[in-house]
Amino acid sequence: MIIKDKNKNKNYNFNAKIFPGKKAERSYLGILNKFLFIVIIINGIYFVASVNDLSIKGFVLRELRLKSEELQNNNKLVTNKVTELESYENIQKRALGMNLVKAGTIEYITVISEAVARK
């Protein structure tokens, strides 16, 4: 037993002599594990946050698209209304009730070079 103890001690001492870094390794591993754990947590939070942000942006995009479509539709309505109002058929119908005088024969005035006021 004593020998074992001795051996134990010796063993320990032996280990300490032959494998001087094992205690250090264990501490390095521990640090690495903690580091990886923290990285996983951070990545996880980042992933959730980015997916959330993407979803929100997706909804915003959808809203903007709907608004753009609505504006385009309104624009088209207004354009069509303008086209209708500018139609000669419609103008003629509206003009009938306005007592307008139809333009008659057009006479052109010829400007003669001598016809210039002198004083």
């Binding site: 979803s55 959808r62 309505l77 069509n80 139609s87 052109y108």
Partner: protein, 642 residues
């Protein structure tokens, strides 16, 4: 003993453990097997079922391209007016199983959509009724006392008519709304949004709803309907029919797109997930060479003249002679492409300007004279002895001038007089000097007997088979010199005429100035010369001769005050359908002219089919030409020449 008991206990425990582990193993194994069966063996089935529930696939329809015309006298590339555009109309439908009171709903539908139209129809019917519009009792033989009660009777008749029509319409609505368990019944198509807006909530309460659908819309109604065509339906969906809508259907339609995405539990699309989106390619727009003001004016004046003269039909084409660009193209009778189904005869859809083939008559003398002068066989001052008629070898009857019965022979006349008085004998004389084969060759060079290639469907090529024989018969070539025995289309005639006045070059007619794709690419049409037909000198001489025709010949009513206008009338007989010879009393009147004479801004062909009140083209088409020409010259602000 203690150890064996211990060992036995230990062994019993081990067996129980093994049993439990076996059971667990078997359970796990069966679960794995089931998973394998679901996810591997029946993978396709479940993917398909899931996609059916969650996947969305929709075809995206492109927007149809629009058609524009020029909106200013000088095309500036900016000022256009849309003559064919897309507009949303409402499709009103009922959900009969949600309609609580069909009678009330039917009444309201009548009030909203039909009452005004019915009242207008009844008022129009009563106005056109000779009994109610008569001013004296003598013509109708009704007693004087009854006249006093006529207004009262009219009111009663009006009420009765309105009531009868209302009952019929409401009954039709009731029939649709009373169908139990029916989820959908269309009530009315193509309703203006403005008409519907004030009643949306009320109709919704009655179980009637609407959706917006895109339709083709033509804001100028029947103006230019033959040229533009319309959009109809076939098995594959919307398709352009007739006119430019048909010819450029592929360009105007574009290409459909698609969207493939996944749907969430509440039915909306999942944005962040994978999706395929192919944007639809909208149709290309067409910008035409047609001028809006000239087109409107020409069509209106043609419609009025056709009605005034009792004509069966009519055509006006205005063309820029130097380029072949079509500035206006109208035909009558026309139709409203917004309601293309409301026609009595579908033959109205054909564009007479390119489709109709007819014997042109005396306007063809221009081309006969061009051939003779160009060959140097005659000059404007060349003379011949006109006896009023001429005998043709192989034909028993002599060919006479149209005024032979009145004037007989005109004696020694020059070529200008031949055109002024439209002498058939003169045109035969020119052909005989030129030679039948050479004359026939000129007719082909002017483009007759072949299509012009304009971008419109249904174009006719005319018929000059009489002049294409190996051995041309004397009587056939003789009648061809004054436009009988051959057929041409109005478009061929004006195209050839443009060659006579523009210096001698035959130009290819075109109506589409530019095609603008949805990506913004612009494809411009360049004027295309086909060939030189006559020399510049010949063109100049013929132009001068035609001015004399308007100044002093049969076409004085085509003149426009202050301008030198050239042209020629033609009053052609109409070939009998199914019988030999010509139909008695039926004629086709044509006038073809240009202005101003020294630098023509336009050439115009005016045609009226069988006017009933006048015998000659100088009384029907020549004045119509003058009206439209005056408008065009003022519109272009062409300074007066005299």
């Amino acid at each position: 003993m203690i150890s064996s008991k211990y060992n036995r206990k230990k062994s019993d425990n081990g067996n129980r453990l093994n049993l439990v582990m076996t059971v667990i193993f078997l359970l796990a194994g069966s679960i794995l097997l089931r998973l394998y069966g679901l996810q591997v063996s029946k993978n396709d089935l479940y993917v398909a079922l899931a996609s059916d529930q969650h996947q969305v696939y929709n075809k995206l329809q492109p927007s149809r391209g629009e058609i524009y015309i020029q909106n200013s006298p000088v095309p500036d590339g900016k000022d256009f007016y849309p003559v064919a555009t897309n507009k949303d109309f409402a499709l009103v439908y009922a959900i009969p199983k949600d309609v609580k009171s069909p009678a009330e709903a039917a009444d309201r539908l009548y009030e909203i959509f039909d009452r005004k139209n019915v009242e207008d129809e009844v008022d129009k019917m009563l106005k056109e009724d000779p009994y109610f519009s008569a001013t004296s009792s003598d013509g109708l033989g009704i007693a004087a006392a009854d006249i006093k009660n006529r207004e009262e009777f009219k009111a009663i008749k009006r009420e009765l008519e309105l009531e009868t029509r209302k009952k019929s319409i409401v009954a039709a609505y009731l029939d649709k709304l009373s169908k139990e368990n029916d989820p959908y019944e269309p009530i009315r198509y193509k309703v203006e949004k403005e008409t519907l807006d004030p009643y949306i909530d009320e109709l919704h309460g009655l179980g009637i709803d609407h959706i917006m659908e895109a339709y083709r819309y033509y804001p100028e109604f029947s103006i230019g309907s033959h040229l533009f065509g319309f959009v109809g339906f076939d098995d594959s969906g919307k398709i352009g029919r007739y006119g430019l809508e048909n010819f450029f259907n592929e360009e105007l339609t574009g290409a459909p797109g698609s969207i493939k995405a996944e749907r969430s539990g509440n039915g909306s699309l999942i944005i962040v997930n994978d999706r395929e989106f192919n944007e639809p390619k909208n149709g290309s727009d067409l910008i035409l060479t047609i001028n809006r003001s000239i087109q409107f004016n020409a069509c209106q004046k043609l419609n009025a003249a056709a009605l005034r003269h009792g004509a069966d039909g009519g055509t006006v084409i205005v063309m820029e002679p130097k380029t072949g660009a079509i500035i206006a193209m109208c035909s009558w009778p026309d139709y409203d492409p917004n309601n293309y189904g409301k026609v009595d005869d579908i033959s109205i859809y054909n564009n007479p300007a390119v489709f109709d083939q007819y014997e042109p008559g005396s306007i063809f003398k221009i081309f006969t004279m061009s051939a003779g002068i160009d060959q140097g066989k005659v000059t404007p001052e060349s003379t011949y002895n006109d006896k009023g008629s001429i005998k043709i070898p192989g034909w028993s009857k002599p060919i006479k001038n149209s005024d032979f019965d009145t004037f007989g022979g005109h004696g020694t006349v020059d070529m200008i007089t031949v055109l002024e008085l439209s002498l058939n004998t003169g045109s035969i004389h020119v052909m005989q000097r030129t030679g039948p084969e050479v004359f026939a060759d000129y007719v082909k060079k002017f483009g007759f007997g072949q299509k012009t290639g304009i971008e419109l469907p249904g174009e006719g090529s005319g018929n000059i088979v009489n002049l294409e024989r190996d051995v041309i018969r004397p009587v056939e070539v003789a009648t061809a010199t004054f436009g009988q025995g051959i057929t041409v289309t109005p478009l061929q005639t004006i195209t050839a005429y443009a060659a006579v006045v523009n210096g001698g070059i035959l130009m290819k007619p075109y109506v589409v100035d530019e095609i603008v794709t949805s990506e913004g690419e612009r494809i411009k049409t360049q004027p295309q010369p086909v060939r030189r037909v006559i020399s510049e000198r010949t063109s100049l001489l013929l132009s001068g001769m035609m001015v004399r025709v308007v100044e002093e010949g049969h076409s004085t009513r085509a003149a426009v005050k202050g301008y030198y206008v050239g042209g020629k009338t033609g009053t052609a007989q109409v070939a009998g359908s199914g019988t030999k010879g010509y139909e008695a009393g039926r004629t086709i009147h044509t006038f073809i002219g240009f202005a101003p004479a020294d630098d023509p801004k336009f050439v115009m062909l005016v045609k009226l089919n069988d006017p009933k009140d006048v015998a000659w083209a100088d009384s029907s088409t020549a004045p119509l030409f003058s009206e439209i020409a005056e408008f065009i010259l003022n519109y272009y602000q062409v300074p007066k020449e005299r």
